[in-house]
């Protein structure tokens, strides 16, 4: 039996603000537990929330970048549920009047364009962190509230994804957009970007979707892909045995690589949403929206297309270059600084720059070689030769010195002095009578051999073009 797979994704991204959503505590990652808390984010009796303007604007920006309609009346709702990492035992979120609705993301799945609908985009607060002591006999759990109240944007897709490849591209594209617009650092290892998936299977072509299973606790994109693959086969097996899929929430167990039931649909939370009376509504007018829209840069899909058409580089290369905004900015800055072909710049960036960044585990922002320096090096290549250029590049990336400095300091300047080279050529001719004779007999490769010998002697510093000319001249004049 053939099945259709229906997948939807909920993404939580921590917004890049200095302070929490409702208080002035820091959002910095990795501090000592419970050192970034105050009465407000600990929900002490009598405290009240006040919205962080930047978090709100970041959410508007996200919604706009995801092509959503912005609600002009926005308010917050309380989502009531008990969990020890949730200080108020309700989360201030949005339910009745989400900030953004009905958007989409354009995907490029193996060259095929596709649109995934965004159901809504809203702003809410994060919970604290539960820590479970290593020892299996520990009878307690620990709570760190540093993260409690950090602003999150939640992005809910429509159930528009039909295969795992799509999900993978979706996650990357979404992450890339969030990075481009600068609303989140999307560091998965720090929990800045988290996913929840829902998946159902139905008979191929069926009009009605099957029962939905939700999966929580997905801490990496890999985990999302693994759990979906697992669920597809689990659900398919059940269906093939003629069994029903139960509506439930499952947890992904990374270690055993299985999903497990967390709760059935009937046991699901009764969130008792109602409008948050401690906050006042927000009216978002056209002017606000437009001024925030102005801050959205060219987004990756568009930039990708433009790179291909404007710089005549391959789809593949453009994809790599636009993978991060800063890398694509780097590339374009280089392009602007030189008349060299964008194709050559692309090769340098993809082959050399990215390799070094990868080795050094660095981001392009922290790279030693500025676009100006890279361009300067590439322009020197015809003069110093490819091999030396690579050597200079490597030295530059280690030391941050520019190309002329490296060449000077390491004495890598090619020998272009004709007099010097001329005597070298005479020496080589004298020492290699066999090759000279071969060349005289019309064997062109003998010339390359002679040039090669000269390069060996000069340790690559001779200018090969000049050398060649002198050899030709001398050999033509020799008896």
């Amino acid at each position: 039996m053939e099945y259709d797979v229906v997948i939807g994704l909920e993404t939580h991204a921590e917004l890049d603000t200095d302070t929490k959503l409702f208080c002035g505590c820091s959002t910095a990652f990795g501090s000592e537990p419970n050192t970034q808390t105050c009465p407000v984010c600990l929900a002490l009796p009598g405290v009240l929330p006040v919205i962080n303007r930047k978090a709100f604007e970041h959410t508007v920006k996200t919604a706009l970048a995801l092509n959503c309609e912005i609600n002009n009346f926005v308010n917050f709702d309380r989502k009531n549920y008990y969990y020890p990492d949730l200080p108020k035992n309700y989360q201030i979120s949005q339910n009745y009047f989400n900030l953004g609705n009905d958007g989409f993301i354009e995907l490029n799945v193996k060259g095929k364009k596709n649109r995934i609908g965004i159901h809504n985009v809203h702003l809410e607060e994060d919970a604290g962190k539960l820590v479970h002591p290593e020892a299996s006999d520990a009878s307690y759990s620990l709570i760190d509230f540093n993260r409690a109240g950090v602003p999150l944007v939640e992005i809910v897709t429509k159930p528009d994804m039909r295969c795992i490849d799509e999900v993978e591209v979706f996650m990357h594209t979404l992450r890339n957009i969030l990075l481009y617009i600068g609303v989140s650092d999307c560091k998965m290892q720090e929990g800045s970007l988290r996913f929840e998936a829902s998946i159902s299977l139905c008979r191929k072509g069926a009009q009605v979707f099957g029962n939905r299973v939700e999966i929580k606790n997905l801490n990496s994109m890999k985990a999302v892909l693994k759990v979906l693959a697992y669920e597809i086969s689990r659900q398919r097996e059940l269906l093939e045995r003629g069994e029903q899929i139960v509506m439930e929430t499952r947890l992904w167990d990374e270690i055993s690589a299985v999903s497990r039931r967390m709760r059935l649909k009937e046991e699901s939370h009764d969130y008792r949403y109602f409008p948050e009376p401690d906050l006042v509504p927000i009216l978002v007018d056209k002017k606000n929206i437009e001024s925030i829209r102005m801050t959205i840069p060219e987004l990756p899909t568009k930039r990708h297309q433009r790179f291909v058409s404007e710089y005549l580089i391959s789809e593949y290369d453009a994809g790599i270059l636009t993978e991060s905004k800063s890398l694509s900015d780097y590339f374009e800055e280089c392009v602007k600084l030189t008349s060299n072909s964008p194709k050559e710049l692309t090769n340098w960036i993809i082959n050399d720059v990215l390799r070094v960044l990868n080795e050094k585990k660095k981001e392009i922002q922290d790279f030693n070689i500025s676009p100006k320096m890279l361009v300067e090096l590439i322009e020197m290549k015809s003069e110093i030769g490819g091999a030396i250029a690579k050597e200079v590049f490597s030295e530059m990336s280690n030391t941050g010195k520019d190309a002329p400095t490296v060449v000077r300091e390491k004495n890598l300047k090619p020998l272009s002095n004709t007099a010097e080279l001329s005597s070298l050529v005479s020496e080589i001719i004298g020492a290699n009578p066999k090759a000279v004779e071969d060349y005289g007999n019309g064997k062109e490769s003998a010339l390359s051999f002679l040039v090669g010998q000269s390069m060996k002697v000069t340790k690559g510093k001779a200018n090969p073009k000049t050398l060649l000319e002198i050899f030709k001249e001398k050999l033509a004049n020799s008896p």
């Binding site: 009465p39 709100f56 008990y82 539960l130 759990s141 620990l142």
Partner: protein, 95 residues
């Protein structure tokens, strides 16, 4: 209006309250009485009435994203019934 005991127990769970059977009965009777009373609102035709959730005309109240100092770890942990190594401590949470 009627609420059965099962519903009260569910409600008590939702409210995180442990009720004994006497309390369950008393609260049930009282709740039913109050709910019967508030059913008075059904007399009104509210189809074209907008809800008023807020008691203020204020809109768009924000704070700027400016760092304020947090409380010392000790100050907050001293409030807690149980803590260890800088953390608040609770019974083991099994997901």
């Amino acid at each position: 209006m009627d609420i059965d005991s099962k519903e009260i127990i569910k409600l008590a769970n939702l409210s995180r309250l442990k009720l004994d059977s006497r309390e369950t009965d008393t609260f049930k009777t009282q709740l039913v009485k109050i709910l019967d009373y508030v059913a008075k609102l059904d007399e009104l035709d509210l189809d074209n009435v907008k809800p008023a959730f807020y008691n203020t005309q204020l809109k768009n109240v924000f704070r700027e994203d400016i760092l304020k100092s947090s409380y010392p770890q000790k100050t907050v942990l001293d409030l807690s019934p149980s803590n260890v190594n800088g953390f608040f401590k609770v019974s083991k949470i099994i997901e």
